[in-house]
């Protein structure tokens, strides 16, 4: 955590529940009470049907690797080695950007559609980032 020099998310009223959950080790998503659409990133309404009735819930944390690049020019604070920037598809439907941890950062090790599970990485006292690691890896 002390090493992190990258951009730090600044929660807004609409995203507080997500970041509070991340700090507790929970991946929070929202679902529309009316049309059951699963919503990410957080907002207090449904972009599918415009209902203002949405509820937060703790997601399973399970995902699969949808796509990625391996960044060979890491920014300051990300160490000298190439690292993967990934798009993961959550079991509940939404996709999100993340990093893949506990895994070689190579095309051979990073196989599309491989099963993943969420693991939270604290970067400040208040903010923990959802990252993903191979299931059973």
């Amino acid at each position: 955590m002390a090493d992190y020099e990258g951009p730090v998310p600044e929660p807004t009223p609409e995203t507080e529940d997500f970041w509070d959950g991340a700090k507790r080790g929970e991946l929070r998503l929202q679902q529309c009470d009316d049309c059951k659409n699963v919503i990410f990133p957080p907002r207090p309404f449904c972009p599918g049907c415009a209902s203002r009735s949405v509820s937060s819930f703790t997601a399973s944390g399970r995902a699969k690797l949808y796509s990625y690049v391996i960044n060979h020019r890491p920014p300051r604070g990300f160490g000298p080695d190439p690292h993967a920037i990934a798009i993961v598809e959550l079991d509940e439907g939404p996709r999100m950007m993340s990093n893949i941890i506990d895994c070689e950062q190579t095309p051979e090790a990073l196989v599309l559609d491989m099963p993943l599970e969420v693991a939270f990485t604290p970067i400040t006292d208040e903010i923990s980032l959802p990252k993903f690691r191979p299931v059973g890896g």
Partner: protein, 378 residues
Amino acid sequence: MEPRSVAIVGAAETTDLGRIPGLSQIQLHADAALNAMQDCGISPGEIDGVATAGETPANIAHYLGITPTWVDGTAVGGCSFMLHVRHAAAAINEGLCDVALVTHGESGRSRVGSGRYAAAPASLAGQYEAPYGLSGPPSMFTLGVLRYMKETGLTHEQLASVSVVQREWAALNPRSTFKDPITVEDVLNSRMIAYPFRLLQCCLVTDGGGALILVSKERARDFPTKPVYLLGTGESVETPMISQMEDMTTSRAFRVAGSKAFGEAGITHDEVDHVMIYDAFAHLPLYGLEDLGFVGRGEAGSFIEARNTAPGGTLPVNTNGGGLSYMHSGMYGMYALQESVRQMRGTAPAQVPDAKISVCHGVGGMFMASGTIIMTNE
């Protein structure tokens, strides 16, 4: 828009392209605007509409001495100028202005008088993308390509062939930054930037600008230049966060803008003689060819590899060399428009013989926005 109701009568780029440390960003706008005014023989006092991105319309109008009755500051990244052309056509047809000027200038390389982009920490991109070790567009715009490769069978060699073919076009253009021929092997041996993308699959970073002047078809007869008529136009936006695209192997914004423009133009793809597809990275022409409907799903890689878009091919694409070899200031859309105008005027360095219809397609942000302009010289 009524097809052919509005024409581009003035078009020019900055006097120089590439490294221009002696001009600030706003002066690059002005240099291009003055060249475009000279191109069609008018003065700032005759211009009453201003559209721009990167600078505000107020900055440009005041700097150039224009008193506008219509302004447009739509800023959706590199295709903003396609949207400006579309909006200018609507404004002219509605009588909001008579002579519209669209300007672009960007000190992308020398960074004189230009800002830097970073997502605000409280924005959604700042919260849900920025912390994951991004190094700008090369590490983000490219994120969907491995998925595209898995779903369509696109090979690394086919993706590399995009850069090879565009270098062939660039070799025919004296103003291109890079002209030396390259091979698929050269591309695949160039420095890794963000796997699977290597240096020769990423655009240049240069300084430059461009400007366009539009009037009604009736006014166009008063100008000395060959009018280039707008035949169809389209625009859309999808998401400011690439991670939130509906499908990372195809652009919704491309499909919406493209089909709108083709519908308005009332043409089929077979009638198109020339195509520009904004190529910040080598996969964009693939997405563009498919999402605009020139080829089917997953066919673009083999289509380009088979030299259909190369010099002498059936569908010339990115005939200036593109963002990969010609120039790329950051918001490249203006240069794609300039090349389409040159092709329609018959003055392009790599002129497509008898070209009558040009499709010019732009992207903004990283699949955030899109604009399509179809032009004709008939």
